[in-house]
Structures are given as C-alpha cells and as structure tokens.
Symmetry: C2
Subunit: 428 residues, 2 copies
Amino acid sequence: MTKPLRLGIAGLGTVGTGVVKIVRQKADLLAARAGRPVAISAVSARTRDKDRGVSLSDYTWEDDPVALATRDDVDVFVELMGGSDGPAKAATEAAITAGKDVVTANKAMLAHHGQALATAAETAGRVLRFEAAVAGGIPVVKALTEGLAGNDVTRVMGVMNGTCNYILTRMQATGQGYNALFEEADKLGYLEADPNLDVGGIDAGHKLALLSSIAFGTQVNFNDVELEGIQSITLEDIKHAADMGYRIKLLGVAQLTGRGLEQRMSPCLVPESSPLGQLEGGTNMVVLEGDMVEQIVLRGPGAGEGPTASAVMSDVMDIARGIRVSTFGQPASGLQQATAARASTPAPFYLRMDLEDKPGALAKVATVLGDAGISIDRMRQYRHDDTTAPVLIVTHKTTRTALDSALDAMGKLDVMASSPVALRIETV
Amino acid sequence: MTKPLRLGIAGLGTVGTGVVKIVRQKADLLAARAGRPVAISAVSARTRDKDRGVSLSDYTWEDDPVALATRDDVDVFVELMGGSDGPAKAATEAAITAGKDVVTANKAMLAHHGQALATAAETAGRVLRFEAAVAGGIPVVKALTEGLAGNDVTRVMGVMNGTCNYILTRMQATGQGYNALFEEADKLGYLEADPNLDVGGIDAGHKLALLSSIAFGTQVNFNDVELEGIQSITLEDIKHAADMGYRIKLLGVAQLTGRGLEQRMSPCLVPESSPLGQLEGGTNMVVLEGDMVEQIVLRGPGAGEGPTASAVMSDVMDIARGIRVSTFGQPASGLQQATAARASTPAPFYLRMDLEDKPGALAKVATVLGDAGISIDRMRQYRHDDTTAPVLIVTHKTTRTALDSALDAMGKLDVMASSPVALRIETV
C-alpha cells in the first residue's frame, strides 16, 4: 500500500496550519510509520492572502469547502473550520456523500449532529474520526474507544476546558476576581468568539457528550448534559474552598446508573491533593474508569497549535494505516437512546449565601434545609461590616433534586440578600 | 465480517483467567464493538486441575502451548506464560509460522527477542502486539504508537514497576527500612519469582526498552539500558530526599540526543509536588513528550488481573476490528540500530556517604569532586555517635561520567567508611 493518502484541509487557523506543517516537515517519518506517504492535495480557508508561516503554494486552493471536500484528488476531508452548522456541516456531509473519510476537530458539530453524521459515514462505508475534538493533545478518544474496548466503562470525568481552568487557577494564584481574569483570558486570546461557549461550560459539555457516547454505547445527547458555567464563582468561593482543602474546577462527570445516563458539566469542589485538584492553567485531564481497568488518568495540553494538530494527525495516521473504527466505537445504528438521569447521584454540596442581618436569619435557612431532608456537615458565618452576612454551609450527601427544592424554598425567605451559590463536592 | 475471532490462550494465571472472564462475560459488548464475536477455542497452562473461578469446559485443553498456538481453530495466539525464552518463545514462533496473530504480555521475551519476533511476524503478514507488557492497564503502547504518530518523540519517562514504587512509598510512609518492606511485598505476592527482576530494575528496564523502540524508531536494545535497582536505597536516603522536597522513584528515562539513544532505569530524586513525585503504591505513570504534543502524562494500575487483562483485550479487540499496526509502530526492517549514549545528559546528583571520623575527611571528598570538575550545591554533615559521620552532598549539574570518575577516586581515599550512594535528581 504505497499510494499516498491525500488530504483536503478546510480551515487554516492555528490547528490547520499545524497540520500542514507536520505533513510538510515530517514526510519521511509519517511514511515510515504509515507504510505510505501522507500528502495534501488542496486547502481552503476564509482568507487566502494571509501569512500563515508555511507555504501553501504546492496545494490547490479552494474558496468553497464543499468543493474541496468533494475533489477527486482528496481521500480524507480534514474539517477544521468549526461551528456546529453552516459550512462545516455542509462540507462534512458532502465529503461523506462523495465517499471521503472525514477527520474533524469540531466538537460542536458532533455534539449536535454526531449521530446523523456517524450514520451517514457508516452507510457510505467511510470513517468519521474526532480525536482533536476532545481534550486537545490527549489521545483520549483512542484510549477510551480502543484501549478500554474490553471494559464496561463505569464513569468518565474530566477538566476539558483550558480557559475555565486558567481563570479558576489564576483567581486562586493572584487573588483577582472573576471579571479581571476573564478580561485577562480575553486579551490572551483564550476565549472563543462567543465566550459563553467557554465560561458557560458549553464547549466542555460538548466534549463530555462525545465521550459519554463512546463510553456507554449511547447516542450523543448534548441536550441532556446538565450545564453550569463558572460565571458565578467568586474569589470568596475559591478562598473558602481552599480553606477546606478543596479546589474549584469546571468538572464533567458522566456515568450510567440504574436511573439512566447522568451527564453533568459544572463547577465542583475537588480535593486539592487529588490529580484533578492539582491541575493548573490550560492543562486538561480526563479520568476513565472501567470495571476491569479500574482507573486511568490522562493529562495533557487542552489546546494550542501543536497539541491539537498532533491529535488531528493521530486520526489521519490511523486512516493511512488502514485503521477504521466506528465514530463512537460501535456502529451508530446500535447506539442506544439513553434515558437521562438528571442529578441522581448524591454528593455533599457547598453553599454560599448572603443573609440579611436580621435575628433568626440563619435559623430560617437551617430549617429549610432540614425540611428538605438535608443535614448540615459544617456551617460558618463570617464577620460582616454592612447589613448582610456571608454564610457558608457544607451539607452531608444529598441529591441535587433535594437541594434544588431547598434552594427554591430559600428564595422565598425574606432573609436572602442574594441567590445562593451551590457547588457539588466531588470526591474523586 | 461476522466470523468470530478465535483465541488460543496459553497461560492461565491471574491475567489469563481475567481474559477468559472478559470474553465469557462481555460477549455481546465485545461483538458490538468489534463488529464480530470474540471466542476462545483452546487454552493451555501448566496445571490443568486447579480452580480458577471460571469454567474452561467449553474450550479444548492443550498441554503443549506449541500445539495450542498452531491449531486450525485459533486465529490469535494469546501468550500469557512469561519467560524470555523457553515455551513462550517457542510457542510464539510456532504461532507466527502457522500464520497466527499474536498478543503477548511478555516484556522479557520482547526485550530480548522483539526485533526477531517482529520481523518474523511481519514477514508472515501477521501482527504481534504487546499492550499488556508495559504499564499494566495504561494504554501506553497505543498512545505512543498511534496517538503520537504525528510527533517526533523527544523523551519517554516512567515509573513502571509497581512493586518498587510500593516499597519506596511504604518506606516513606511507615519509616520502615528496605528489608522489612521487601519482606512485606514478598508476603503480599508482589514480587516476581526472581525478585531481582523487580528490585533490580530489570522488569522496568524491559518495558523502557520496548517504549524506546516505538518512540525513536530504533531496534529494541535492552542490553544498553543503564540499570540500577533500589536495593541500596536506605530510609536515610528517603528522609534526606524528603527534607529537600524530593521523593525517590525508580524512574526510567529514554531520549534520543546528538550523542545517541540514552536509556536509563534507576532510582532518582523527583520533586515531591510533580505528578511523578506524588505517585503512590503500585500505580504506574508514563510521561510521553513529543515536539507537537508537548507532554502527555498517563497514570493507572501497573498490574493485577483486571487492568492487565484489559490491556490484553485492547490488542485482541484491535485485531478483531481489523486494526493491524507494526509491532514497534513501523516495519521492523526499518528500525535503526541506535548508538547507545550512556550517561550523556547532565543532571544534579544526590550523594550520601559515611566518612571516617578523621580530621580533613570532608576536605578530601570535596577535593576529589573539585578535581572531577563537579561543583557542590549543598553539603551537610550529620551528627554522629560512633566513629563514622554521615555526609550528604547535592552537586550542581554534572555528567554521570564525571561523577563516576569522582566516585572511583573517592573509593581510593582512606576516609570512606562505605561505598557512596549516588542518585540522579530529575527535574521533570
């Protein structure tokens, strides 16, 4: 098999440029490993005239990604444009129809259309792979799909948005508040065009939904991911958590329980001495648990030109080597529609609230918790200088449902100066 | 492709038994993922009559592993007997000659005969895979071979012998000495029949040599791994290291430098706050560094029935899915014979010695170091009650060659009460 594998690359941002560089600079290495050359036939991007630090003159330029995806001299369509719909989806569908394999880094597209696209690819006898869509350079899709193929996967967890982890760890390190660090991240170019994708937990939620599908053999179901962003985390939360030996992380957890598939992406307290607690800056970490393998922890850069291009090339090299695995690890037609089990696994919770400085305020809150069947592990009222008093409560294990009913009841009390913040404590 | 993939399993210890359990208990899951059933045709072990907690009555029994490996109803020979030569090698060779794919957990066999066996397999058009041979349940062979296929790998590091890490972390935790913990590990069944394979660093050295080959495209060269065991590590070393913010780990490092391929497996000091420093008990950790992906860290159980069987099944499922990758990531014929660069990368070193209580003793040692061009970062002489004085020295960066010449010269001094212990400080 010495015929070159010919790529058509759509999207020449940092990742696309990184892929072009690897193919150009490592031709011999790639050919030795794959048993055949890997080449680029054509490229496409929004702007043609832009110095990308790498020569594109050897490749045909296509303005239209659909035209690129369907070219006769393209074997693999490499989709690096992004966006859940629009040109990325149109070109991916066109590529599959034209009998091309597809490699994509597009978590949004797959989180929304993964089942349909995987079905289309399999019907056409093509593969659709997405290592670069989850956790940057960490080969987690491969580890889960292939490395753990002999396991019933029991739980998947991860810190998979580097920007959120950057903001949270910088809050801890610098003592600056959320807004200041959000601006810093923006200036550094760490935020998506729509920052809510990052800080709202949506981007990380997309990734979790993709891993869930592989782990549990279920159809991708992003709509049932319980999503909570980091926007309401204050410096006080970071400090209180640290006082108790915890760190706050935007943590994704997916597990299949008797009640159904639980998927949540939310800021959680994790022990500071745990691998997740020690994760700093833009680094990602994914924890995979299976009945045979026990627990595997994977750590690496969650973004950036080199790491993400490395993940794209992992898929490209698989195809060059003749490795053809179903998108979600088994035929899309066999993936089950899981019942969503929202908030079913109990946990202790951290609650922070500001109470009006009135007699009996704390008693009212404690009564509401007791009425919801939630017992209190620790409570602390902080000194205050004005008319409200910050109060911190750590509950014993309870369900999110019980907690939500307590939070509802609290909202009706006349002593709440603001909405309480409730964070799950995950003992990983 | 609905024809079952038929296994012949030789060796029914904990790992072999674990594989049988997975194939029996997860038949539907494996078939869904592989697109075809995975079945067992025949098994073989030294003792037939033994309760292994799983029924073998559905499978043909073979006393002779060679007979098993060459059966017509076997597609994949699963070698779980162990031993670098003897029946394991004979049966593996017979399987390849008979046109079978081979999956093995046998690091000793591959460290010694990997190049010949890989060549034989490739000549016969078969695959020989060994995920379970390195770092137990961690899918590190797959991550390195496939996940990092687009990288020039720059360095591979790892703590890959759980027994040594168990002994070292228990010394730290309990304050007991090496001999007591060695006995404890022995009672718990953690030691190989020849314990020197564990505590002498040989087993971990085998694993490092296999990863090196994949990482650098070189022929497996176990003989040039610089090997040092943990037998001379004392409780004092553990304590001194902790005082300075380090932990002692049996650490493997492989890197390709301008001078050639450096492979060492030796007890090193690593920062206690680093992922490697925090690794407790029998857990393994492998660090993979590539020019594109930067650094990936993989952590998981290094041994045990479930984790190791999980790794064996990763290879079996690959074959069932039609994934066929060269043993060391590229054709064995293309692997280079690397020049061994012994001890070429400089590092600071920790030195512990007992000096005779004579005037000028410390000055003599300091002079010897100075003559070898080694400068001293820190030196400490401890209080002593008898005729010898414990001395601790941390050097600035130097080469192992310079250090060895200094150690030689020290041995000729009339003030040394015992041979010095020298440990590399690895800032990972």
